[in-house]
Symmetry: none
Subunit: 169 residues, 4 copies
Amino acid sequence: MRVKRKDTKKRILESALRLFSEKGIRETTIKDIAKDVGITEGAIYRHFMSKDEIVKELFSMYSEEFYNRLVSAFEEKTYKEKFYRMVKEFLKFCFENPEAFKYLNIFHYLKAEEVKEFLKLPKDAIIKLLEEGKGVIKVRLELALAMFVGTLERVFCSLRLVSLKERKV
Amino acid sequence: MRVKRKDTKKRILESALRLFSEKGIRETTIKDIAKDVGITEGAIYRHFMSKDEIVKELFSMYSEEFYNRLVSAFEEKTYKEKFYRMVKEFLKFCFENPEAFKYLNIFHYLKAEEVKEFLKLPKDAIIKLLEEGKGVIKVRLELALAMFVGTLERVFCSLRLVSLKERKV
Amino acid sequence: MRVKRKDTKKRILESALRLFSEKGIRETTIKDIAKDVGITEGAIYRHFMSKDEIVKELFSMYSEEFYNRLVSAFEEKTYKEKFYRMVKEFLKFCFENPEAFKYLNIFHYLKAEEVKEFLKLPKDAIIKLLEEGKGVIKVRLELALAMFVGTLERVFCSLRLVSLKERKV
Amino acid sequence: MRVKRKDTKKRILESALRLFSEKGIRETTIKDIAKDVGITEGAIYRHFMSKDEIVKELFSMYSEEFYNRLVSAFEEKTYKEKFYRMVKEFLKFCFENPEAFKYLNIFHYLKAEEVKEFLKLPKDAIIKLLEEGKGVIKVRLELALAMFVGTLERVFCSLRLVSLKERKV
DNA sequence: CATGAATGAGGTTTCATTCAT
DNA sequence: TATGAATGAAACCTCATTCAT
């Protein structure tokens, strides 16, 4: 059965996201993606001008969503509410798009330059939030804890979130 | 002009760690490392059998230290003490070896299989810790917060910890 | 200018066989083969996964044929007939495929381990043949003679069989 | 216990001969030879200007001896005696110096150009011998037989002459 | 539009040889 | 003299990209 042409671009992005998050960006070849989609190398270039375009399109897609969700937290009034909302949005994104979350992490490790823009707002805003929201986050110890436990999440993420999902955290 | 030094192996590891943590493992070539050390590509191979050996040696070096520090926390008696100690060790490692910390993160993103063994103990032990130490960490909300803020740290880390260092968090 | 041909794999094998038999296996580079075929080095790797795969494919191709021909001699009834038939098959192969014959020789000098299996049957069978066929081959002196003259053929072979061919031995 | 300096050159040649005949010339590195002798790479260059010098010195040493022995056969009077003597000398050389015999074979496969001079005389002389000595060798069939059985010897040779030695052919 | 062979730049690795110690 | 780290040329191989079909 023939697959609709329009889907091809979407399917390329889906395969690329999965492979990139599983194996890494450099470790995934155009051939890998093509095979996963069920087309050939050349066909990819009907839909994207280069591998980098795929990489960047995936980044825009998900970083934008991620960014918008985080920023939406600032609609709330109090620091406490902003904070909780942001956490909620963050977690929602992570659990809804584990592959995308892992991909964003890989991406920002490897492409620090290109990622700065994206990080700019959340970083500044969040630092301010942290400072002003001392009552909420009980600075120093809590931050320390948070940083530490944040590593857990990275671990879970790399184990494909299986444990966390099962445990319904 | 030819220079002979005894510490070449050490210098290769230092350069590799820095370059890997800056640019990524695949993105760093043997030539990059050689140039950074001030030798030629071939010379690397007197000290390491392959690029992968460098990658793995760096991983063992630092993962072992990291692991041992985390595990040392279990010497403490109460959950509270264990927790604080672990956090302390974790942060100490991060701030003393920011490049190594970033490298370990990159490594475990890309080499998930090889890294599982290393993660085994901390993961299980820490999950138990989290469960049994509910009084300390106020589960769910705190964990959520932690996961979120942990992402900050990753951001800071990828920006070379500059902000964090200056801010003396 | 880019040309597309369907028989590239075959042409690679032909060039490789000739170059290997002329210069040796290690002495022939992928670049040599590519240039001889009229393609680039990279193109070779669409058809073979490695240089060693070329080496081994050539070996299977011709060793199988050679082997089957020799073994076919055992269809004959008497020792005398078996012997003559085997000689006939042997010579036929040598004169029809001088490059392959030289290649098999080079190969078994350099890859003694891998070649043992192939040599097993002919060796055992032939030793038996020699023993039981004393009447035909007048053992000791004849064998000695044979070994000696066999060296001649190696010489001729390495000189590309030119002399032998012209002389219609 | 210190090994005498004078021996070193000889020991290099011995190790080289063995390794070359076992693994091939290109397949044997200067480091392999050095390790086998029990010295370091640099030390080899006290005794030989290059790897090729070792290769060529081994060839001269043994090809000269081989050549002289074969040529000595022409001291005999009759064709029959010449023939038998040549065979005898040939076999003596092979069994006394199996590694050298294998080395000469490898060498002349790979260095056809350089070896021609050496082969010139025996080849011509022997062809004449074969022609004139028809009574002895019963041309055509016997030559064919010989060529065939000569392959056996190549097989035995590559199996390190073990079988032949044990069987006292 | 799709295919997949071919390109070509660039990566990893090998190793004969040199040379500071 | 001996050592073995370093050089540098050249080998093998990879892969994003192009293009004839």
